[in-house]
């Protein structure tokens, strides 16, 4: 994780005067696994397509190795793409699909005089490199199969091999696992990470699936409404979300209005809680994030807060319980069962409290009053599924 490879500078994009990207500034290191994460319409795919050269930004620069490449067509960039629906050539078999890029290439004749003469890659070398890729993706023996006779996961891997065989410096992946079922998706996540480490190049990955992002990435870029909300490692993003949007989008969060009384002390519900955060103004209004798994249920008399259980859902590894604290409902994940209607106390360790500055997203997320409806509201059903899944793991 060293050298900077790609830089996006003040990137703006608008379709029909409708802004899609606002001032994107981002650098991507060599050999990094970077994920652009956000809900649909947040601009992540547009960002990827700009890097790939399929779209020209309205303003701003794309730098590759320090050189501006805004106007370089896709086929002249050292970047290859794995498309959302694989886009394998249906008329070619697996071998020819993977070999496609190599057959398109011309390079200076290595044996001839150091001149201009460009030659095609010799057939033996193509064969060798395709076979090598088939080994990387574990599909040896499939070279004569047509794409439509392969399973979704196999097609996916062929699409990756087809891109990687050209030895690009960067591989762009546009929701490549979106069409796979859950089990396969999990396998492919691990597989992708393994491939990335094996070939040692930069992966730029687009997804709306926070679990995918957390599992694979070195760096996550959270986007919403055409702007970058936060850049950081998966741990940073999860533990130190910058605003209510990030806190809500990544995992489950209770987001409570608070006042930063002083460093390491935040006031919620009129009560002071010790925390680890500092650097805010005195008595500054803040958003406080508390993850559902960081809350301990204790007897009422020992509780920092006392509330009433209004809903219990059994999730296998834990119960999701909704607790009403003076009208504001929290989600708590616990292995102990508490019946609906019970009065319970809760205790939060200082490191379970995360304080964020107020933002335009304040007050929009983090209340579980509409817990059951929230799942119905999600326009993307798979997103809801993923979130449930990730809870199981946490």
């Amino acid at each position: 994780m060293s050298k900077e490879l790609i830089r996006l500078r003040d990137l703006c994009m608008a379709y029909d005067n409708e802004p899609v990207l606002n001032n994107i500034n981002l650098y991507i290191n060599d050999k990094e696994f970077l994920t652009l994460l956000g809900p649909s319409g947040c601009g992540k795919t547009t960002t990827l397509r700009i890097i790939g050269g399929f779209v020209t930004p309205t303003s701003g620069d794309v730098l590759f190795d320090g050189v501006r490449i805004n106007d370089v067509p896709p086929y002249k960039r050292q970047i290859n793409t794995v498309f959302q629906k694989y886009a394998l050539f249906p008329h070619l078999n697996v071998f020819e699909n993977i070999a496609f890029g190599l057959r398109m290439q011309k390079r200076p004749d290595p044996s001839g005089p150091a001149g201009k003469k460009l030659v095609r890659i010799p057939e033996e070398e193509i064969r060798e490199r395709v076979m090598e890729m088939l080994e990387v993706i574990n599909l040896k023996g499939f070279e004569n199969r047509k794409p439509d006779s392969l399973s979704g996961g196999q097609q996916q891997r062929v699409a990756i091999a087809r891109a990687l065989v050209n030895r690009p410096k960067v591989l762009l992946l546009d929701e490549p696992l979106g069409a796979l079922d859950l089990k396969l998706r999990k396998d492919m996540q691990i597989e992708l990470k393994r491939i990335q480490q094996q070939v040692g190049i930069t992966f730029i990955y687009v997804t709306h699936d926070q679990e995918e992002a957390l599992t694979m990435s070195d760096t996550i870029v959270v986007m919403d409404k055409g702007s970058i909300q936060q850049i950081g490692t998966p741990e940073d993003i999860y533990n130190e979300p910058k605003n209510a949007f990030v806190a809500d989008f990544i995992g489950e969060s209770n987001i409570i209005d608070g006042i930063m009384v002083r460093d390491k002390c935040v006031k919620m519900y009129g009560r002071e809680f010790p925390c680890l955060d500092g650097g805010f103004g005195e008595n500054e209004p803040v958003d406080v994030v508390i993850r559902p798994e960081d809350i301990d249920i204790v007897p009422v008399e020992q509780g920092q807060l006392v509330g009433t259980v209004t809903n219990v859902t059994f999730k296998g590894m834990q119960y999701d319980i909704i607790v009403d604290f003076r009208g504001f409902k929290w989600l708590i994940q616990t292995t102990d069962h508490s019946p609906v209607g019970a009065r319970i106390g809760i205790k939060i360790d200082p490191d379970g409290i995360h304080v964020m500055k107020k933002s335009s997203y304040s007050g929009m997320f983090g209340d579980y009053s509409s817990f059951s409806e929230e799942y119905d509201e999600l326009d993307d059903a798979s997103l809801a599924l993923d979130e449930e899944e990730s809870e199981d793991e946490e």
């Binding site: 399929f54 067509p73 086929y75 498309f83």
Partner: protein
């Protein structure tokens, strides 16, 4: 899979039986009968005399099909690249002639191609004929265009071109755009994108276009009669003569029809084989 809706297919089945299957059976029966009744193979044995007609028909139909393909493919391809409004307008223009009766369309070509027709008068007006006489040292007043094989091919191309454009266009328009992006991403320039991706993937459209132009072309008789002057007999004319013309001999006519049908079917099967490697071609 029987359900109640299948009853709605009965009229169609009856229709097919009456007007498709029964006539074919009749053709076969006639082809193997003598004029006075009884089984015979004479109808086929006598057919050698007409080998020239077979040859001419297939040659003209092949030329017409090739011309349709050469015009139709680029037209379809360019249409697919334009905006939706252009595409709709172009589609209407392509379909428009088909709303006019086939015979009327062909008649109008007669008056266009005639010795004193529209084209020749235009050529006279712009001095093309004078120029021709000067260059070649001839002394003609008009180009002889009507009643030539060229006119017949023109008639076929004009009448059947939409049948080439439509299937090709509908295949190209449905091409997954991400395939083109993928090819560009993998280093293909515009030419290679076309040659390696678009062209092979439009093969099913090309195959059905060829079928839909070749089959009616090879059996046409109205076009050759009107634009060819009936001098260079085509298969369609020959068959017509056996049933309606002076050479009344329905048994021979049936035999010729049968042979032509078999040849066409064999051609189609071979083409289908050829196209099998590509996506499944919808034929016939």
């Amino acid at each position: 899979m029987r359900n109640k809706l299948s009853h709605f297919a009965i009229p169609y089945v009856v229709w097919m039986a009456l007007f498709v299957v029964a006539p074919i059976i009749m053709v076969v029966v006639y082809a193997f009968s003598a004029a006075e009744g009884g089984f015979t193979l004479d109808n086929f044995a006598n057919m050698g005399t007409y080998a020239v007609v077979f040859g001419r028909s297939f040659k003209l139909a092949l030329i017409a099909t090739a011309v349709c393909l050469l015009i139709g493919y680029p037209v379809s391809y360019m249409m697919s690249k334009e905006g939706p409004r252009f595409q709709r307008a172009a589609m209407v223009l392509i379909m428009l002639p088909m709303w006019i009766n086939f015979l009327l369309r062909t008649y109008s070509w007669m008056s266009i191609l005639e010795n004193n027709g529209l084209l020749n008068r235009l050529f006279q007006r712009i001095g093309l004929i004078a120029l021709y006489n000067q260059v070649f040292g001839t002394d003609i007043e008009f180009f002889h265009m009507l009643n030539t094989q060229g006119a017949v091919v023109l008639g076929m191309v004009y009448n059947y071109l939409p049948f080439m454009i439509l299937p090709i266009y509908s295949v190209i328009i449905k091409l997954d755009h991400s395939l083109i992006e993928a090819a560009r991403d993998l280093g293909a320039n515009s030419f290679n994108v076309f040659r390696r991706v678009i062209l092979p993937l439009s093969f099913p459209g090309i195959l059905s276009g060829i079928t839909m132009v070749f089959v009616p072309s090879v059996s046409t008789f109205a076009i050759s009669k009107m634009l060819g002057g009936g001098t260079d007999l085509l298969l369609g004319d020959l068959i017509e003569q056996q049933f309606l013309g002076g050479a009344y001999n329905p048994q021979l006519g049936a035999a010729i029809s049968l042979v032509m049908m078999v040849i066409v079917v064999v051609c189609m099967v071979v083409m289908n084989r050829f196209g099998e490697g590509e996506e499944q071609a919808v034929m016939l």
